[in-house]
């Protein structure tokens, strides 16, 4: 079998990123749109960690900047999920729907 290289991880990350983009652009259900965003963030994370390993190979074992960045992205994802779901609940309470294309008013 082939040896697994950084490129393999990048291709996988790209595939997940595309899936996430398709989900965001086509689905109506807000919850699934939010989950697709998580998918995108994860694809990015995968790339970051793969880059980190590559970087380690060049700059030695302490060059973990990619992993640190991934941790920041996870933090960001947690914040995004909390606020996003909060907005979703507020939206559902007012419109009794979870469909994103029915969000056509900025105020009601």
């Amino acid at each position: 079998m082939l040896h697994i290289t950084t490129l393999h991880y990048l291709v996988l990350g790209a595939a997940l990123f595309l899936l996430g983009v398709i989900g965001v652009l086509t689905r109506r259900n807000v919850v699934i749109v939010l989950m697709s965003i998580e998918l995108i963030l994860n694809a990015v994370n995968l790339n970051l960690v793969a880059f980190s390993r590559y970087w380690q190979g060049i700059h030695g074992p302490t060059a973990l900047h990619g992993q640190v960045f991934a941790i920041f992205v996870i933090t960001d994802a947690a914040a995004e999920a909390a606020v996003g779901l909060g907005i979703l609940i507020a939206f559902f309470r007012n419109k009794e729907t979870v469909n994103v294309d029915e969000v056509n008013l900025l105020k009601w």
């Binding site: 609940i89 559902f92 309470r93 009794e96």
Partner: protein
Amino acid sequence: MTDPTSLSPLDLETPDKTFLDANELVINMGPQHPATHGVLRVILRLDGEKVMGLECVIGYLHRGVEKIAENRTYTMFNPYVDRMDYVAAVSNGLGYCEAVEKLLNVEAPPRAQYVRVILTELNRMASHQLWLGTHALDIGAITPLFYTFRDREEILKIFEKYCGARLTTHAFRIGGLQYETYDGFEKDVKTFVAFVRPKIDEYEELLTTNRIWLERTKGVGKISGKDAIALGVTGPVLRASGVKWDIRKALPYANYKNFDFDIPTGENGDTYDRYLVRMAEFRQSLRIIEQAVDHIPEGSIMAKVPKVIKPPVGEIYHSIEAPKGELGYFIVSDGSTQPYRIRVRPPSFVNLQALEVMCRGQLVADVIAVIGTLDIVLGEVDR
């Protein structure tokens, strides 16, 4: 939102605003539910875990006891009353026998009165023990159940020795007792009193100062004395709200006026106070039994009662203090051997009315605690 504790009737048509403004969760608690003490069905309207309102549905154990009475003679109906509050059958029998005696205008002889008091008070303790065990079990403490049942067994043994039955005792007859006490009855009762006194301390050790028990019961299911009277609540539930009302003192029957005992009352009318009141009643019952068992007079056990009981035309209401509250019998006689109508005022049925007032605005877990603290027996509620 309206004040959840206000006394407004349950309105199932217009639901209150809830979380997410969606319709609230409606849950059927019962009739098959481990904590509704039988076949009570409670329709709960919940906002999350908060009770917005509830409705009791009863009748799953209805056997038409009152109707049966109209086709039975007064003597034949006597065993039926045992089946109403089956954990306090002796009290039921006492109330019925005394009501008919009052109608006949006879009085049971002193010896019978003493034995009646002893058995009734023993039964009160048995009933309270069952209440304590199941109430604690509902709140999650499983151990007291086994302790109380262990000690209740001793009471049932005395009943069995006395009249052959453990639960539906049918201990009394109209006009007195059917059986003379067995040899060693007094000794058995005294042994039991000595046996059970430390056991009550044991129950209290497990619960009274237990922090979780305090948190689960203090301030839960509060009802003011005024509300309680308005709803007709009686018994320990009323006394825990600070109303000193005990029929044994207020309208003495049997020979309770010969005994020295206190009426324990609470202050806050919450579940914890009801618990304390009942625990105090254990000790008061022991006091009464101790006084009675030492002074059982000699003599006959049956008053002069005609072979065929044919009360004069008239009506009578007689109530006693059953373990759960005021147990009343309203008997209408048309002069025949069968009662024209018997109406029972069961304490559980009336106390159950307070459930909604006590539960509004509380949590689901509190509904369980309140059902437990009301000490209902569905056999009596549904009759």
